[in-house]
């Protein structure tokens, strides 16, 4: 219990620190001005989301191999957290785009790929609601989760190649557009903070899943009387 509180506190502190750094330590970007500061939060969430989906992938593999329910709990927890993070990416993207480009959405490579990623994991969670039996649900969603994660690099690669064929406005000024060294440090610090925060959310969600299981067992014991 104490460990959870410490993790939560550390996560919150890191996040506050990274927000401070994003506003006061990072220099202002030349062309876009203050709006560019969304970048740290936006891309930080994106990377943390991908890490959450990576955790989900590993949990899925472990479940198929070991068939222990804790891996299924970890799978659904990390998928949900990843989805929440990805949702925030999709919300902050247009908020960034609109003042800069005057449009809410553009089929820019990263935003489009993120949207497909979002759809994949929404499908993962939807699949889970459509299979009632626990073990079967765990197995089927783990298998789909594995296929979905293997698809992710293919999605990003395909869409990036597609955009080189048909260029369109790039929202984030391209990843490799040379970040100033201070910006880089603030960025990686934000990535760290978002990852720790994601980890904290995954732990809390995992505990919820574990408790659900406990309630199920107790309910069945109570009915058996």
């Amino acid at each position: 219990m104490a460990k959870r509180i410490i993790l939560g506190a550390v996560a919150v502190l890191l996040v506050i620190a990274s927000a401070y750094a994003s506003f006061y330590i990072a220099p202002e970007e030349r062309t876009m001005g203050v709006i560019q500061r969304i970048f740290y939060f936006h891309v930080g969430s994106a990377w943390a989301g991908m890490d959450a989906f990576l955790v989900c992938f590993i949990a899925n593999l472990l479940y198929v191999w070991r068939r222990q329910e804790k891996y299924d709990w970890l799978g659904v927890s990390s998928a949900e957290v990843g989805l929440v993070l990805t949702t925030v990416v999709l919300i902050t993207g247009p908020i960034w785009a609109h003042p800069v480009w005057g449009i809410w959405w553009t089929w820019d490579a990263r935003l489009t790929s993120t949207f497909v990623l979002w759809l994949l994991y929404v499908s993962y969670l939807l699949l889970r609601t459509l299979v009632e039996e626990q073990d079967r649900r765990a197995l089927l969603s783990s298998l789909f989760g594995i296929f979905a994660f293997l698809d992710v690099p293919l999605v990003f690669g395909a869409i990036r190649w597609w955009r080189t064929q048909h260029p369109s406005p790039v929202i984030m000024g391209g990843q490799g557009s040379g970040l100033d060294p201070t910006m880089k440090k603030v960025f990686f610090f934000t990535v760290l903070a978002m990852n720790v925060f994601a980890g904290f959310l995954i732990v809390e969600r995992y505990i919820l899943e574990k408790l659900k299981h406990e309630v199920d067992i107790l309910q069945r014991e109570a009915e058996a009387q």
Binding site: L126, F147, A158, W161
Partner: protein
């Protein structure tokens, strides 16, 4: 070698089952046709627009059609529980998948080839000059659709709302196929055609990745 002979036998069964009634093929062809026509009504393309958007719309129609065509793949093994018999009949469960995905690829390809002349006429796009490259893209794309579709169809057959679930699972997963196949096709059918070998290579990689994944995890998809 028993994998190949098992697969061949099962493939024969799949093909015979379909050609007996040909219902899958005919309905799929008609479906793609209807989708293409509806696109024209919705967009009213000019001749130039037809050339630009046509191939992409063709692939979209193929994807929709495939997500319907793949429904019966494992569903039909549920009545009379033929799936258990199949599993007993083969040493390697991968044979079942291999047979089904080859059959599905063939059905898709057949449908597409039947559609091509109609597509060329309706969208005013000459397809003969680049036919062999076009067929290559159709082959690799259809293979990708079948591999992923066969695997996912095994999953959705075991869930509720399977008619809606299969497209829901399949379409996001197949985004790379749609994007790349459409882009390569458009480029092939331009006034000055270009063969985008990188795209074709990408399709091959997609097929390889999912074929390997199916090989590794297929048996779990068929668990009781």
């Amino acid at each position: 070698m028993s994998l190949l002979s098992n697969t061949a036998t099962l493939l024969g069964k799949e093909l015979r089952t379909e050609f007996r009634s040909r219902e899958l093929l005919t309905t799929t062809v008609v479906f793609i046709l209807v989708v293409l026509i509806l696109f024209s009504f919705a967009i009213s393309p000019t001749a130039e627009e037809s050339r630009e958007f046509g191939p992409g719309l063709l692939w979209l129609a193929i994807l929709f059609a495939a997500s319907l065509m793949l429904q019966p793949c494992f569903l039909r093994e549920q009545s009379n529980d033929t799936l258990s018999s199949l599993r007993l009949a083969v040493d390697d469960p991968f044979a079942i998948f291999l047979a089904k995905l080859v059959a599905n690829t063939l059905f898709l390809l057949l449908t597409e080839i039947l559609m091509l002349p109609l597509f060329a006429v309706f969208y005013n796009i000459p397809i003969l000059p680049q036919l062999r490259y076009l067929l290559l893209v159709l082959l690799l794309g259809s293979l990708g659709i079948s591999i992923a579709g066969t695997a996912l169809s095994a999953i959705s057959a075991q869930a509720r709302m399977r008619e809606l679930l299969l497209p829901l699972l399949l379409l996001p997963l197949l985004t790379p196929i749609l994007v790349v196949s459409a882009t390569v096709s458009v480029s092939l059918l331009e006034r000055e055609p270009v063969v985008l070998w990188k795209g074709i290579g990408f399709l091959a990689i997609f097929d390889l990745v999912f074929l390997t994944a199916l090989w590794l995890f297929g048996e779990y998809l068929l668990e009781e």
